[in-house]
């Protein structure tokens, strides 16, 4: 085989290589795969559950499940997306057992100004500030809490799209919903968070 046939390796290829070796019998390499995504998943867990114990459970459950199904991994999908799919379903299962964050629909109307006074007459200063001036610890916590207060179907989309950086198409595939549905939920989730931020800056 000509040497130049080897393509440049993307991170995806690196995962695939590792998984092939694991599936070929080099099981100890599985821990390498775990280490590669441990921090990402832990933070995903924190964002989704808000609690470090729940985040740890999520990481553990996910990596146990991933190992169980690794032989059936389809190499044409990105491992990272598949991993998040497994993590997401572990997350949903977990939330069903807990009673907090009731599921409700968010309507577009509730984010419209309710009276004349709520209509902005000028650009709020926080909208124009550079991020590094704005994003302090306190604000991080406000955001984290607002995300947790979102009904799950909106929270999942917000976290996957705007925090974990998946595309609309990837998110849709992960959750088995249509891209249009992802967009609708994302827009409402963002508007919800924006309202919380508006409140925060108005009272500041």
């Amino acid at each position: 085989m000509p040497a130049n046939k080897k393509k440049r390796k993307s991170p995806k290829d690196k995962d695939v290589e590792l998984i092939r070796s694991i599936n070929a019998g080099d099981l100890d390499l599985y821990y390498d795969l775990v280490k590669r995504y441990e921090q990402k998943l832990y933070n995903f867990g924190l964002r989704m559950c808000g609690d470090s114990q729940d985040a740890e459970d999520l990481v553990q459950d996910t990596f146990l499940n991933v190992f169980k199904y690794l032989q059936g991994f389809r190499y044409e999908t990105k491992f990272k997306n598949w991993l998040y799919r497994v993590a997401t379903s572990a997350c949903i299962k977990k939330r069903r057992k807990s009673k907090f964050a009731p599921d409700r629909e968010l309507s577009l109307e509730e984010f419209l100004p309710q009276n004349e006074a709520e209509i902005p007459k000028e650009l709020p200063s926080w909208a124009m500030m550079p991020l590094d001036k704005l994003l302090n610890r306190e604000l991080q916590e406000i955001i984290q809490q607002a995300i947790l207060d979102l009904p799950e179907k909106y929270r999942l989309i917000m976290v996957l799209r705007d925090m974990e950086g998946f595309t609309t198409a990837e998110t849709a595939e992960m959750l088995n919903i249509t891209p249009a549905n992802v967009k609708i939920r994302l827009h409402r989730g963002r508007l919800y968070l924006r309202d919380k931020l508006k409140d925060y800056f108005n009272n500041d």
Binding site: Q39, Y42, L112, I119, A127, M128, T168
Partner: protein, 90 residues
């Protein structure tokens, strides 16, 4: 409430409000984008809406990640080792 009751229920404003995320995510055709930009240039309420939503997304994207606490990492390692030790080897 009738359409004229307040500014934000103006048809153009409402249409814009629905499309803000698609606009920010670059999911709209050029013509619609131009419409939105023209409207935002004249309507401070919608401009504010757009910029605050953009900033909301920036804040989400900019939120930092935490490192995994040592004890969490150690327990995960133990779980994986336990799992691997119990596998039949080829």
């Amino acid at each position: 409430m009738t359409e004229k009751d307040h500014h934000h229920h103006d048809h153009a404003c409402l249409e814009m409000f629905k499309m803000l995320s698609d606009y920010i995510d670059n999911d709209l055709d050029e013509l619609t984008c131009k419409d939105i930009e023209r409207h935002a240039a004249e309507c401070v309420a919608c401009k504010a809406c757009l910029e605050t939503l953009k900033q909301t997304i920036n804040l989400c994207k900019g939120s930092t990640t935490r490192s995994v606490p040592d004890d969490v990492s150690r327990r995960l390692k133990a779980t994986i080792q336990g799992l691997l030790e119990n596998q039949p080897r080829l």
